[in-house]
């Protein structure tokens, strides 16, 4: 049985309801994380009336990132991830989780060569691709701006 056949076989024996239930779990947990973000946004707006929306947004993301790092340290985030799948990976908390869990995993190889060297193992591509695409779009925007 080669790989393609095996994939076909897995598809056949995976019950349909399992897919729907995992989608629903991702939807609910992911939605709740976003709801938490929206609530923090409203709270910070009330507490810090002098901040503009960009700064409030940065504060909300920072809070979620910090919370996810702590929950990862306590081993709680992995449990959420087991239940929610994509619901815990796609939000910014999943980005934070990937950094913190890599930092913890490589701690045994030392702080500098373990933790520091490896914490961006999963999150690194996100920043590299993100920055590259933003620069590319920026270059296009700048050139277009020269002509109009």
């Amino acid at each position: 049985m080669d790989r393609a056949e095996y994939a076909e076989y897995i598809k056949k024996i995976t019950p349909k309801s399992k897919i729907w239930s995992s989608l629903l779990r991702a939807f609910i947990v992911g939605g709740l994380i976003c709801l938490l973000g929206e609530s923090l946004n409203a709270l910070y707006k009330m507490w810090l009336p002098n901040y503009d929306q960009t700064q409030i947004g940065a504060l909300v993301s920072s809070t979620l990132i910090f919370l996810a790092a702590v929950l990862t340290g306590l081993g709680v985030y992995d449990k959420i991830g087991y239940f929610a799948g994509g619901g815990s990976i796609v939000p910014i908390t999943g980005f934070s989780n990937s950094i913190t869990s890599a930092a913890m995993e490589f701690r045994k190889e030392g702080i500098i060569f373990g933790t520091c060297a490896n914490m961006f193992k999963i999150a690194g591509p996100v920043i590299v691709v993100g920055v590259a695409i933003a620069m590319l779009c920026g270059l296009g925007y700048f050139i277009v701006g020269l002509f109009i």
Binding site: L32, S61, G86, I89, V90, S101, M104, P125, I127
Partner: protein, 117 residues
């Protein structure tokens, strides 16, 4: 009302991620990169701002918000400072998130040990 839409839209984006995982067996890194690119493209098409108006944290909390923020920051800095903005804008806009992620990852990594499952 934004609260409801934040939940629904955010949940929908995450379910989309889960669907990708089920159908493609991609690693989390690849899923994250895909959504960052998606967010950046939505920002370039100027769709993201109207989505944000309407769903708030529902679109900014998923990693799509990271991609969109990078592009938005770049464009804003180009408007303000010209050419140099191409290089300074993106990371400036996302600096808080990246800095907090680095420091909390480092501190938590030093305090807690990885559990073997």
């Amino acid at each position: 009302m934004t609260f409801l839409w934040a939940f629904l839209v955010g949940g929908f984006i995450c379910a989309l991620g889960q669907l990708l995982i089920l159908k493609t067996n991609w690693t989390p890194a690849r899923i994250l990169v895909t959504f960052v690119v998606l967010g950046a493209l939505l920002q370039v098409c100027m769709v993201f701002d109207s989505l944000k108006q309407f769903a708030g944290a529902g679109v900014t909390t998923p990693i799509t918000g990271f991609g969109a923020g990078l592009v938005k920051g770049t464009f804003e800095n180009i408007d303000k400072y010209g050419f140099i903005g191409i290089f300074t804008g993106g990371l400036t806009a996302m600096s808080a998130g990246i800095a907090v992620a680095i420091v909390s990852g480092l501190v938590i990594g030093m305090i807690f040990k990885s559990r073997s499952k």
